[in-house]
């Protein structure tokens, strides 16, 4: 139960657990996040990502274990934590009838941003979110992507050291997602620590480290490269003319670790392609399956994620 003395650790959890009635949403999580990191939380729906962020934001108390954020204990000093973190829940409340500027004023009031600093912060966050020319636009008239940016601007109003973002880009189109991540990169370069949950594996690749949650447990944690390296073997991608037959005959071949369907393509995970693939070609030939567009690919985060979760499911 010792809090890390390492000054570069800004978030530290020790055996962090949370149950709802008898259901354990998080089990004994030990996690340290370094100052200035972008840390990605990924995992299937219901894995505990939202609970984790709420506990870090000190808006929920743990059933057991401990959370320290910026040196404060989340139970004893919840108020201090809330003053130093910016928490953007999945359904961030913007007031649709209020203008961009009025929404910012509302959050500035909540976080006690007053005096000469107040106006300066409005200008800074508006300029940061590229909204300086639309302070009077009503929030409900903004596109989905713009609303997310306004949500982020409101979350930043009190200059938090730590940002906790719960699926900030879900349902947002790829262009707006990229713009949102460009903003996160700006904050990262300024030294803000960011913890972000996401269902998008290409976003997970943009993090310094990723934690993979599954059924309330942190089953893997590492850099994107490390996580991808956990997936054993090589991946052969090809297009079979009869996909179901190809999948069925390959699934139980020795040397085949896993078969994933990707559209009209199959991704076959093998121990060593140069050894295994020629044999698989024979097997496919005997089953009268024609293949083309064969190539060796590097598993992306997407393939790695699916593989790691399926292994857990067994």
């Amino acid at each position: 139960m010792r809090v890390s003395n390492n000054p570069s650790v800004i978030i530290c959890t020790t055996q962090l657990s949370r149950s709802f009635r008898k259901i354990a949403a998080l089990r004994a999580i030990d996690l340290s996040i370094q100052r200035g990191e972008i840390f990605g939380l990924v995992g299937p729906d219901g894995a505990g990502k939202t609970t984790m962020l709420r506990l870090l934001a000190a808006v929920m108390t743990p059933t057991a274990g401990q959370v320290t954020v910026v040196g404060h204990d989340s139970v004893k000093d919840a108020e201090k934590i809330r003053g130093q973190v910016g928490y953007m829940p999945q359904r961030f409340s913007l007031y649709g009838d209020l203008s961009v500027q009025e929404n910012l004023q509302f959050y500035a009031d909540i976080f006690g941003v007053h005096g000469p600093e107040r106006q300066r912060r409005f200008e800074q966050v508006l300029s940061f979110a590229h909204m300086s020319d639309i302070p009077d636009r009503r929030a409900k008239q903004l596109s989905g992507g713009m609303q997310k940016k306004l949500g982020l601007a409101c979350t930043l109003i009190h200059r938090p050291d730590v940002l906790l973002l719960d699926e900030p880009t879900t349902g947002v189109d790829p262009v707006s997602r990229r713009e949102f991540w460009d903003l996160l990169t700006e904050l990262h370069l300024q030294g803000t620590t960011i913890v972000v949950s996401t269902p998008y594996m290409d976003e997970a690749e943009r993090c310094n480290r990723i934690g993979l949650l599954f059924k309330g447990e942190l089953i893997e944690c590492g850099t994107p490269r490390e996580i991808k390296a956990l997936v054993q073997g090589q991946v052969v991608e090809f297009h079979p003319d009869r996909l179901e037959v190809a999948r069925a005959v390959l699934s139980h071949q020795p040397g085949v670790l896993e078969v994933q369907v990707y559209g009209t393509l199959l991704h076959v995970f093998v121990e060593d392609a140069t050894v295994v693939w020629p044999r698989l070609q024979t097997v496919l030939g005997e089953a009268e399956v024609k293949v083309d567009n064969v190539r060796l690919i590097h598993p992306r985060m997407e393939e790695a994620f699916i593989s790691l979760i399926r292994r857990q499911v067994g």
């Binding site: 879900t170 349902g171 790829p174 262009v175 990229r178 594996m201 399926r310």
Partner: protein, 314 residues
């Protein structure tokens, strides 16, 4: 011949709202028995186009033929033959899985043995056997999606429209949902028209169209689009100090000393999009060396569909 070849044919399809042109002379064909992906940023005209194809909105100009019928003149003939899963599909939380399917089946005019037979089919397809008596509210995310798809195909449609069917769903459930779509295409010969913001899903479609500003800006298979649409190449760089490298490269780009279209931080890597790869590599080497940042020899990597998409509309 064309009616047998194509499930959807549009010719200069347009929709104006007052002075605003939402869809501007859109022409495309969707081959029967394929999965066609319709992509575009929010507000690009995706939903308006889809609503015209569904017969819910009258075109201001041009026409759309669905399964050989002119949708503006024969909407009833079209509606009987198509299925639609909307972004916010309604599933009755208080009703069981079976009751939900009975309700939707009757709405489509199915009765007696035929209704029971189709419900059995939908349950098997959606892997909901054994969950017939589960109330809708207790279904997990992935199962809700499957159940909604089951409801959309009860009347045995030839063509199915899916509007962001997997928004906010985790990668594992999304992958199995797509396996299901391919089963429908391969086993039943249906045609699927789908919108999505997930580029890994778009990559699984046989044909894609990008709509932007109400116009189709590109159309083709994912592999073809990567070749024809991508302006420039993606260079991946691994510096020893990514934030510092990022600062130096952005500065140089702003000052005109580095000619690139985009710079994005991906954890420990930086992705640059450049028209002239050789020139960009030389320039970035100069910038980083002068700034004292060490780096591994940069690689030119395959663009993701997201890179391509952004390049097409920026």
């Amino acid at each position: 011949m064309t009616e047998d070849t194509f499930a959807i044919q549009t010719e200069k399809l347009s929709k104006r709202f007052g002075h605003f042109v939402a869809v501007n002379s859109v022409t495309f064909n969707v081959r029967r028995g394929t999965i066609f992906g319709f992509l575009g940023p929010n507000g690009a005209g995706k939903t308006t186009t889809m609503r015209m194809l569904l017969g819910l909105l009258r075109p201001s100009g041009g026409k759309a033929k669905i399964l050989g019928y002119d949708v503006a003149h024969q909407p009833r003939a079209v509606k009987k033959r198509i299925g639609y899963m909307s972004q916010r599909f309604s599933l009755y939380d208080d009703l069981t899985v079976e009751e939900n399917l009975l309700f939707f089946g009757r709405t489509y005019g199915l009765r007696g043995a035929r209704l029971r037979e189709r419900i059995q089919y939908a349950l098997r397809m959606a892997d909901l056997i054994g969950r017939e008596q589960t109330p809708g509210r207790e279904l997990a995310g992935g199962f809700r999606q499957r159940m909604a798809l089951g409801a959309a195909i009860l009347h045995d449609p030839e063509l199915i429209f899916l509007d962001e069917p997997t928004a906010g769903v985790d990668p594992v459930s999304r992958r199995s949902f797509w396996e299901l779509l391919y089963q429908l295409v391969n086993d039943e010969g249906v045609t699927i028209f789908v919108t999505t913001h997930y580029m890994d899903e778009a990559e699984q479609c046989q044909e894609l169209a990008f709509i932007h500003g109400g116009q189709i800006v590109a159309q083709g298979s994912p592999a073809d689009l990567k070749v024809t649409l991508m302006r420039g190449v993606v260079i991946e760089l691994t510096p020893d100090d990514p934030p510092e490298a990022m600062r130096l490269l952005k500065e140089a780009s702003a000052a005109g000393a580095l000619r690139v279209d985009d710079i994005a931080l991906y954890g420990a890597q930086i992705h640059l999009v450049a028209q002239d790869a050789a020139q960009a590599q030389q320039q970035l080497a100069e910038v980083l060396t002068t700034g004292g940042v060490q780096f591994d020899p940069p690689d030119v990597i395959r663009p993701s569909l997201e890179d391509v998409f952004l390049s097409a509309i920026r």
